[in-house]
Symmetry: none
DNA sequence: ATGTTATGCTCGCTTTTGAACGAAGAGAAA
DNA sequence: TTTCTCTTCGTTCAAAAGCGAGCATAACAT
């Protein structure tokens, strides 16, 4: 048995048991404990494990092996809380429009584990990239590639969106305000979002608590179009009243 | 046994066992360990394996690593030779259709360094991904995401391609034959390629020497449509005659 | 003929491993 | 808490295996 094989086996033990011990490893591989220690030392240098007295434990997922989107996401915890609330709203086999937001991305990651089959129509390059090997049917809107946000926008994307009628549009935004409505930072994406909303039987808006009352550049679509709003903590009473008046189902962790 | 045969056998061992060892390979092929090491070195340069002390392991596609296209490419050296020949064919400021092939991907990498501004229309997710921060204007065709090749295909992609008229289509294929024409392995991509060719003033075909005489499943478009063919080594005389008869400029390293 | 590629061979360097021994840590006993 | 004992660790040395660079040779292509 070669050194790298042994280290691979140690790693696979680590993945299943989360921890390993020097002495038993030494006897199973018929090498001295010194050798095992050196193996663990190497794995530690690579950042895979943390050594401790008598053995080593697996490092939980470092940010390196997470997908691009998740790596660069701020307020990731809040977004994951929201993502966990989405599956009950979506029926198996549904068709969904998804925008470029990281909250929607995380929601799709959760849906991937809880649904057998979904059809996703998106203008997000990250979703195309990371769900290429999923069980989803994925369609791209096409369009002009908008730098820095890796979204596809423009007239071509809009025409494309209009071809589809879907069960739900799952979208996010940059800010919501009772007087100004639902807002985004840039025109092309806000524009496209409006068309997405238009083609969907049900509109699900995902917004974390930092978006409440935040004002942003461009208005997208009015609250009347929203069927369901998912957020990460219970909003203030006036917001609950406001959503009630507009017939919006509001969902937050109990 | 020829060198490339040996490397192919090593590769097939790798695909079944995930790893190989220097010493046993040397004895089964009756060559020195030096030779095996050089084989593995070459495979490592191509991004197929990772070498370790005493052997090498197959690189698994974790799907999250960045240069997916490049890692997955075999004969990368040949493709890069071809890529180097492309810039003189493209004028600064041109618009280009690019397909999903790894040769075209490499050509775009080279163009990025030698041209100020280009407009790229593509059905490749990898290109969207990796050129999002380039100086190119990138447009996606949209369409249905084809798993495993990460290409966008289908009627929606075709409609989209027909919207554009470009200076050049830069495409590759799986095989060319004097009797069968230009061929590909799958229908959706072959189909789209035909429409790409149709919208371009100039059609540039990139093919490495392994494609000559190779027969594949689906015919794409006839040789009459090709304006320029770029390859990595001088083709046989009969091919040169053949290209001459069809008015195709042939380009290879001098 | 000339250049390129594949291969083998040699030599010095690096990696791996085991063995030995003192240092450091953990847990039980005082 | 302090001390004692046993285990575990780190360091060092030496031997063995693997490796890379350079050179020479043969086959092949141009």
């Amino acid at each position: 048995m070669l050194a790298f094989e042994r280290r691979e086996k140690i790693l696979s033990t680590l993945y299943s048991d989360k921890k390993v011990f020097v002495a038993p490893l030494a006897s199973t591989f018929n090498v001295t404990e010194e050798t095992i220690r050196r193996d663990l030392e190497k794995l530690e240098r690579e950042g895979v494990v943390t050594r401790n007295y008598g053995g080593a434990t697996l490092n939980e997922r470092t940010s390196e092996d997470l997908p691009y989107q998740t790596r660069n996401t701020i307020n990731l915890e809040e977004k994951r809380v929201i993502a966990q609330l989405v599956p009950p709203l979506i029926k198996d086999g549904s068709s969904i429009m998804a925008d470029t937001s990281s909250t929607v991305y995380e929601a799709l990651q959760v849906l991937q584990q809880s649904k057998d089959h979904l059809t996703i129509i998106t203008n997000s390059v990250s979703i195309l990239q990371d769900f290429a090997f999923s069980s989803f049917d994925v369609f791209s809107t096409g369009g002009s590639l908008r730098k820095n946000s890796r979204s596809l926008v423009g007239p071509s994307a809009i025409r494309s969106v209009q071809q589809y009628n879907v069960d739900a549009a799952v979208v996010s935004c940059k800010g919501i305000s009772m007087t100004q409505g639902i807002m985004d930072t840039n025109e092309p994406e806000a524009d496209l979002k409006q068309y997405m909303q238009n083609q969907a039987r049900q509109v699900i808006l995902l917004v974390d608590h930092t978006k409440f009352g935040a004002v942003s550049l461009v208005k997208t679509f009015p609250f009347e179009q929203v069927d369901c709003l998912v957020t990460n903590k219970k909003p203030a009473e006036e917001w609950l009243d406001f959503f009630g008046q507009h017939g919006i189902d509001i969902i937050f962790p109990s």
